[in-house]
């Protein structure tokens, strides 16, 4: 029998997906659920933070005291009921794995983030959203229950009714209440393995917003790409993609080619961004087009290029993502789109979506409005830009997505997330000694200050 050593620690330098923030961490990687509690107990006094696919951009999964618990080896599917669609799985199961197993059987995760490498546990802890938020809400809206390993080592099954406060503190709670070992989530019926994607050119911000508004009710999935370099009257021009499940029979697709960026290679520059933007607009054409696309390619377009975050070079990049309430969104978006050029930092990738109802968690990101995401290379001027962008979001009643954040101040955070106090109260109850702590939690003032 193998000796139980999987709660031993491995020393690694760990970076957020943006590669700008790093931490020297001691990582445990449990191979059995029972080892999670051992790792929690063995972590130092500063506490540990759970890690999934390593796809949060900033420091949400970087340990403040350097202890991390990786859940990737806990990737087993435990039960599936094809009548209800209810799936029980360990927290380290990835969305790519789910898609490979269940799409051929006619089921799909109801909500999926933009990468298949994210885990279910990470999706719960960040209450992620997809391109269909107006119709289905956030990931946490589909969670039936989860097993949470608490600071005490006790595992508690939490449902929305068994302990509503702990449920709401854990959904979107960036890992601060405990480690989710197992969860039950309801999958969605998927009538096909492909999407019919319609791409329509958008001349500027106003028509774009009008089209997004129309798509809320009319389309199953919608996402917009914006040319972040466009100025003046063309500000906000881009392409709106709307999609539905394709009617069967689908064509057979060639297996997806997988390339990977081997080393940090700073290719994202103004000229290459402009070239890419032009290519994307040209592909869409003047009148738009319609294509049948495999689900994987539509949901996870960037996963085809492994380690694409290395394209920003050694300094890495930041993604700023915020949501603005519908009222006043247009003015806010205009200001957000103009800000990068003022700081001399060209945004490489700009994505716009609409969101529907607010999430269930105290720190859930979603609220009804428009969300904008900007990727910018990390330079000397980037921190000032990120601060400015967060202020613009605040001025328009918006908030920043913690899964992407690397820069918010505790003051900005407190204004964006008024329910943070409720999370702190739950944490004081289930984790009074602060056994769960991330660099983000410290930065945002989420840890209790000792009297």
């Amino acid at each position: 029998m193998s000796a139980l050593r999987s709660s031993d620690w491995a020393s690694r330098r760990v970076a957020g997906w943006g590669r700008a923030l790093t931490a020297d961490m001691a990582l445990a990687r449990p191979e059995r659920v029972a080892d999670i509690g051992r790792a929690i107990a063995a972590a130092g006094p500063g506490g540990a933070i759970a890690r999934g696919g390593g796809r949060s951009y900033g420091d949400a999964a970087l340990g403040a005291a350097g202890f991390g618990i990786e859940l990737g080896r806990l990737d087993r599917l435990l039960a599936f009921d094809p009548t209800s669609g209810a799936l029980v799985a360990e927290a380290g199961v990835t969305f790519a794995d789910l898609l490979a197993v269940f799409l051929p059987r006619g089921f799909l995760a109801p909500v999926t983030p933009g990468t298949g490498f994210a885990t279910l546990g990470g999706a719960l802890a960040n209450d992620v959203h997809g391109k269909n938020h107006d119709r289905v809400g956030s990931f946490g809206d589909h969670v039936l229950w989860f097993d949470l390993v608490l600071a005490s080592g006790e595992t508690r099954r939490v449902t929305p009714d068994s302990d509503p406060e702990l449920f709401r503190a854990t959904i979107g709670g960036i890992g601060l209440t405990g480690v989710v070992s197992t969860l039950a989530v309801k999958l969605l019926r998927a009538p096909s393995t492909a999407f019919k994607v319609r791409m329509a050119p958008m001349a500027g911000l106003e028509p774009f917003l009008a089209a997004l508004e129309g798509a809320r009710a009319a389309a199953g999935y919608s996402v917009g790409w914006i040319d972040g370099l466009a100025r003046g009257g063309a500000l906000g021009r881009g392409v709106l993609e709307t999609a539905e499940f394709a009617d069967p029979p689908q064509p057979s697709f060639r297996p997806r080619r997988r390339l990977s960026v081997p080393i940090a290679l700073p290719l994202v520059k103004r000229a290459s961004i402009a070239l890419l933007n032009r290519f994307y607009a040209a592909r869409t054409g003047q009148t738009g087009q319609e294509r049948i696309v495999p689900a994987e390619a539509f949901l996870y377009p960037l996963d085809a290029l492994g380690n694409w975050n290395r394209l920003y070079g050694r300094k890495g990049f930041a993604q700023f993502q915020c949501v603005l309430p519908d009222a006043g969104a247009a003015a806010g978006l205009r200001a957000l789109l103009q800000a990068p050029e003022r700081e001399g930092v060209p945004p490489a990738l700009v994505v716009i979506k609409t969101l529907g109802i607010a999430g269930r968690g105290y720190l859930s990101f979603a609220l009804r409005g428009v969300t904008l995401a900007l990727d910018v290379a990390m330079t000397g001027r980037t921190p000032a830009l990120l601060e400015r962008l967060a202020d613009i979001a605040l001025d328009h009643g918006g908030r920043v997505y913690l899964a992407k954040d690397a820069a918010l101040s505790a003051t900005q955070f407190a204004r964006m997330y008024p329910q943070a106090e409720k999370l702190r109260a739950v944490k004081a109850r289930v984790d009074p000694d602060g056994r769960f702590c991330s660099a983000m939690a410290q930065r945002l003032g989420l840890m209790a200050t000792r009297a």
């Binding site: 029998m1 193998s2 000796a3 139980l4 050593r5 999987s6 031993d8 620690w9 491995a10 020393s11 990687r29 191979e31 059995r32 659920v33 029972a34 080896r73 087993r76 599917l77 435990l78 039960a79 599936f80 360990e90 197993v101």
Partner: protein, 246 residues
């Protein structure tokens, strides 16, 4: 012919899990045997949900002399042919073994005696069914007696000789017996140890091991390049070997 059943003993290890998924993906039923029942139940559920095969759990404690016979009795109803995979081992630090003779004895009891007894217990059944495959995980540590790991290595060397002979015994019955020696593998056993940057994934070791089984090879290294590393190490003169701190 049905894909039969794989009996996987030591089913909680990362390599065993990866092997279980591969054989279940090919349609075989699986019996997972080991000590940690709660963990094995998760793996069995995973195989049922993913592959729709029959997967169940049975307890097996390698330190219990009655365990092999109980396992044979417990799998009589499983779909034939039965195939056997041995993936259990104990690997305490050499220094700990030198300090505690009970650990030394336990190492041989688990890694060599229990494995040999288990193979021997299944021999009549395998011969009677006239088919089937046996996969035993050995170790590159069994190729030489190294200062840092010789107690473990000696048990694995003994196991290698036993498996070779057992393979000769099974061959006339049409049963193939394969010993696979994994190099450094990225599992709980090596997690956190130094020099593991090139450790192979459990999935790649499982793929290589089951390819060796399918080809009916008696001995195989996984991944393949360990064959050449170990060839060099086997050829080292004893004088040189003694000076190396490996």
């Amino acid at each position: 012919m049905s894909a039969g059943t794989w009996i996987i003993v030591g089913g909680s290890s990362a390599i065993a899990r990866a092997c279980a998924r591969r054989v279940a993906a090919a349609g075989a039923d699986v019996v997972l045997a080991g000590r940690d029942r709660a963990d094995l139940e998760h793996s069995a559920a995973d195989l049922r949900v993913r592959f729709g095969v029959d997967a169940r759990v049975t307890e097996f404690d390698a330190t219990n002399p009655d365990a092999p016979a109980a396992l044979v009795a417990g799998v009589q109803q499983a779909a034939r042919p039965l195939n056997l995979l041995l993936a259990f081992a104990t690997m305490p630090e050499q220094a700990a073994v030198e300090a505690d003779r009970a650990l030394l004895r336990r190492g041989f009891a688990v890694n060599l005696v229990a494995a040999a007894a288990l193979l021997d217990s299944f021999a009549p059944l395998l011969e009677a069914q006239g088919a089937g495959r046996v996969l035993v995980f050995g170790s590159v540590a069994g190729d030489r007696g190294r200062r840092s790991n010789y107690a473990y290595g000696a048990a694995k060397a003994g196991l290698a000789a036993f498996v070779e002979g057992f393979g000769a015994r099974m061959a006339p019955a049409g049963v193939s017996v394969t010993l696979v020696k994994p190099g450094f593998t990225d599992t709980g056993l090596t997690w956190g140890k130094r020099g593991m940057a090139l450790a192979a994934s459990p999935e790649s070791v499982a793929r290589a091991a089951l390819a060796a089984v399918a080809a009916g090879r008696p001995v195989s290294y996984a991944p393949w390049f360990w064959r050449w590393i170990m060839l060099v190490i086997r050829l080292l003169p004893g004088r040189v070997m003694r000076r190396l701190s490996i």
